[in-house]
């Protein structure tokens, strides 16, 4: 009798002062000794890899039945770029500057009717400008696509801009250019540095930006350019996703008071069509230039910008290799929920709480165990899935947008971290509602449905973007591998791997949800009878 009364006392004292490590070990033992949960985690890893592979196998890109021979120029930073425009240029050796006054920017858009674009000859086009149609001055390392440059330009809807090396964009004077309010532009080269100025009157100049173009050769091409990105129109929305149509557009800039000073400007003006032709992934309309006295008229089509997914060009983003993470997510949410609801169902929770009465610590231990196990299992899956699926995708003729190593590591580790936090969220909701069907449904719907809605364009534009900022689904932004560039002018859509929040910000939204749910669960579990 005395021994039996003494034993619980000792056990209680030990539990009271038992280390958190013991609690972790207890929860880990529970996890690994339930076969269904271990199988569930293995399944999560396997489906993550297999669905990614299957979707890669089902992704063939071909051009007229054969492989595609598109050129994908790469910019100085290693990113995919679009580099198509009309270039009226002269060589410039050494330091110098180029100045011009832009008096007009006009353009032609493809005519649409009944949701179809009448692409083709210019007779089917009507006047109009794209917001990022542009014309102005450019200093470019060479006429090779993807070479370094710095440019001052007027645009269709974004005022004067200085842009350089594809990814950089600085705003200058606002407002549209007209004959009554012309824009003066100037680029000055000194060594590796090109500085851009703008002016409304040609006398008072304002510095817009300074570009450093490392390793710029002594002789560069300086001159005038015009280009205009493709017109994209959404034709249908609904369950089947968005289908769009579009066509090339043209922009024409009129520039006078052109002066090329300093250095040794040698040779006459010459015109070059950069990009275009059958190897262009995005069709362009061509262009040309005309000189009458001191007035240049330059017409061009295309774009000088980062090539981002979602435009007219074909290509896949690296996050497509992890599409299986959705299936993995469902599996880890099921296991994460059962990790707590099974204890309630079998009554084990009473033993657990009798052994360690500090319930908050029990939930914390459970969260750490399920989070770590999920992270480990899905990290292995992601490390396997990304290289295998990208090999398959490339083998099937798909173009994969180049990504930085940092973005690739973030994609792999971030996906595993996202699934781990999702499992913790499932655990917390499971502790709150104690019924597995409801907990699993709530978590999966909160994470997957906003993504699905966005990818299939179910809700009006805007509403789905807000869902992807506020709902736990925001975490998918950790899978974004290509940064958002406003000047690329493409639609930022989830289907093309672009999210409204920055990668870590989106992940933080999911973490906040999980932390709030876990905090609420601790509060409720402490007050409630087990």
């Amino acid at each position: 009798m005395t021994t039996t009364t003494a034993a619980p006392d000792r056990a209680a004292t030990r539990a009271e002062h038992g280390s958190f490590g013991d609690l972790l070990r207890a929860e880990w033992t529970k996890f690994r000794s339930v076969r269904g949960w271990v199988i569930g985690m293995v399944v999560a890893g396997l489906v993550t890899v297999l669905i990614g592979l299957l979707s890669a196998v089902g992704s063939h890109t071909s051009c007229n039945g054969g492989p595609c021979h598109f050129l994908y120029p790469v910019g100085p930073g290693g990113e995919a770029v679009t580099d198509s425009f009309y270039f009226a240029h002269r060589p410039l050796t050494g330091n110098g500057s180029i100045t011009a006054r832009v008096t007009s920017l006009t353009g032609l858009l493809p005519t649409t009717s009944n949701g179809r674009v009448h692409a083709g000859p210019q007779s089917g086009m009507h006047p109009g400008l794209e917001p990022w149609s542009k014309a102005g001055l450019i200093i470019k390392a060479s006429t090779r696509q993807g070479s370094a440059y710095a440019a001052m330009m007027v645009t269709g809807g974004h005022g004067v801009r200085m842009q350089y090396d594809y990814t950089q964009d600085v705003a200058g004077l606002p407002g549209a250019v007209t004959a009554t309010s012309p824009r003066w532009l100037r680029l000055t080269r000194a060594g590796d540095t090109v500085t851009g100025y703008d002016s409304a009157d040609g006398r008072h100049w304002t510095l817009v930006g300074t570009a450093t173009l490392p390793g710029l050769s002594s002789t560069v091409q300086a001159g005038l350019f015009a280009t205009s990105p493709a017109y994209n129109m959404t034709t249908a929305q609904g369950m089947l996703g968005m289908s769009g149509t579009g066509g090339p557009t043209l922009a024409t800039g009129v520039l006078d008071h052109v002066s090329l000073l300093g250095g040794q400007p040698v040779g006459a003006w010459s015109g070059t069509l950069i990009g275009g032709g059958p190897s262009a992934a995005t069709p362009v309309q061509g262009g040309g230039y005309h000189r009458a006295g001191g007035t240049f008229t330059v017409t061009g089509s295309g774009d000088i910008a980062p090539d981002t997914p979602g435009g007219a060009g074909p290509g896949q983003t690296l996050d497509h290799t992890l599409v299986g993470a959705f299936a993995g997510l469902i599996a880890v949410v099921v296991v994460g929920t059962m990790f707590i609801t099974a204890e309630y169902r079998r009554g084990l929770i009473r033993t657990t709480f009798a052994a360690s009465p500090r319930r908050g610590r029990v939930l914390a231990a459970k969260a750490i165990v399920i989070g770590s196990v999920t992270f480990a299992a899905t990290l292995v899956a992601a490390v396997v899935a990304v290289p295998l699926s990208s090999r398959l995708l490339r083998g099937n003729g798909n173009y994969l947008y180049p990504v930085t190593t940092l973005a690739e590591v973030r994609l792999v580790a971030g996906t595993a971290a996202m699934l781990a936090v999702a499992a913790v969220l499932a655990l917390a909701i499971g502790a709150l509602v104690r019924r597995s069907a409801i907990a699993v449904t709530v978590v999966i719907v909160a994470i997957v449905l906003p993504y699905l809605i966005s990818v299939t364009n179910l809700l009006p534009a805007g509403a789905d973007q807000w869902l992807l900022r506020l709902a736990p689904a925001a975490a998918f932004s950790i899978q974004q591998t290509i940064p958002n560039y406003p000047q690329a002018g493409n639609l930022c859509s989830v289907a093309s791997g672009c999210y409204p929040l920055a990668p870590w910000a989106g992940f933080a939204v999911l973490c906040a949800w999980a932390a709030a749910a876990l905090g609420l669960a601790v509060f409720v579990v402490r007050r409630r009878d087990a």
Binding site: S59, F326, A327, V334, M338, S436, A437, V445, T456, A495
Partner: protein, 280 residues
């Protein structure tokens, strides 16, 4: 145990009468369990409320600009089905898994040893409940669409008549959506009978619904994409809601609903077989 009860039954009653009475009694027993189970009424109300609520919010947020729009007013006003269906799936899963988690299933099968009859009775009851709840949800959603959408550009000038059940395609979308919810319930019932555990069952159902459209969105091959959409229970099944642009559907509306029916029949068949062959 089944041998004992079978012998006892054979001694007391002639077999044909047992079968007939068995189905009626089974239905009665299942109905009693379903209506007294905690949460059934609340979940049914949630299914209707969520469907109508999301439909109202979507209709309120949708604009048809002056340039014209490619949106389908019937589909917009029935958007809530996307959320309502998961509650329907939960109700159907709990109708079976709830018994497994509480151990009630052993009592049920001891009292009614004809396991297929038990599953059939559950299927009949869950389907009937969903037809009633689905009708309420769909009528509420369409009424909201009829009241809201004309004020948002879906006017006669843009070629849209107010939503009306007298309009053939709208009637098809409405009746089809109700049937869709009932078929989702049957699919979930079959999955729950097959895997028994409620968390795993709902995971499988949501996976079947959500994964096909997500994979279809990232696959670059148009043919593979179309085939995926044709076999996807949700994408194909919800084609029944389309009233315009039928040419762009992966399958014709009724054929699409047939795909979902095939999925439901398949999981019910597997669930029924496993229920018969396995220990409870």
């Amino acid at each position: 145990m089944s041998l004992a009860s079978g012998t006892a039954r054979a001694l007391t009653r002639p077999a044909p009468a047992t079968a007939a009475a068995g189905l009626r009694d089974t239905l009665h027993a299942e109905w009693t369990k379903l209506r007294t189970a905690p949460g059934t009424i609340g979940l049914l109300a949630a299914a209707v409320a969520l469907t109508v609520g999301v439909s109202v919010a979507t209709a309120a947020a949708t604009r048809c600009p002056a340039a014209g729009c490619g949106q389908d007013p019937a589909r917009v006003s029935l958007t809530g089905i996307y959320l309502g269906q998961v509650v329907v799936a939960v109700i159907a899963v709990l109708a079976i898994s709830g018994e497994y988690s509480s151990g009630m299933i052993r009592t049920t099968l001891a009292a009614m040893p004809r396991r297929t009859t038990v599953l059939a009775a559950k299927a009949v009851l869950v389907t009937s409940l969903m037809l009633v709840a689905g009708t309420l949800a769909v009528l509420g959603s369409l009424l909201a669409g009829r009241l809201i959408l004309p004020g948002h550009g879906f006017t006669a000038a843009h070629g849209f008549a107010p939503l009306s059940l007298a309009d053939g395609p709208v009637l098809r979308a409405a009746a089809g959506s109700v049937l869709y919810l009932a078929l989702i319930a049957l699919l979930s019932l079959g999955a729950a009978a097959a895997v028994r555990d409620s968390a795993a069952a709902i995971g499988i159902v949501l996976g079947l619904l959500y994964l096909f459209p997500i994979v279809a969105a990232v696959v670059s091959d148009q043919h593979v994409q179309r085939h995926l959409q044709q076999i996807a229970p949700m994408t194909a099944g919800l084609g029944i809601q389309a009233t315009i642009g039928l040419r762009n559907l992966p399958l014709s509306p009724w054929a699409g609903l047939g795909v979902l029916a095939a999925w439901a029949a398949g999981t019910l068949l597997i669930g029924g077989l496993l229920l018969r062959l396995r220990d409870a």
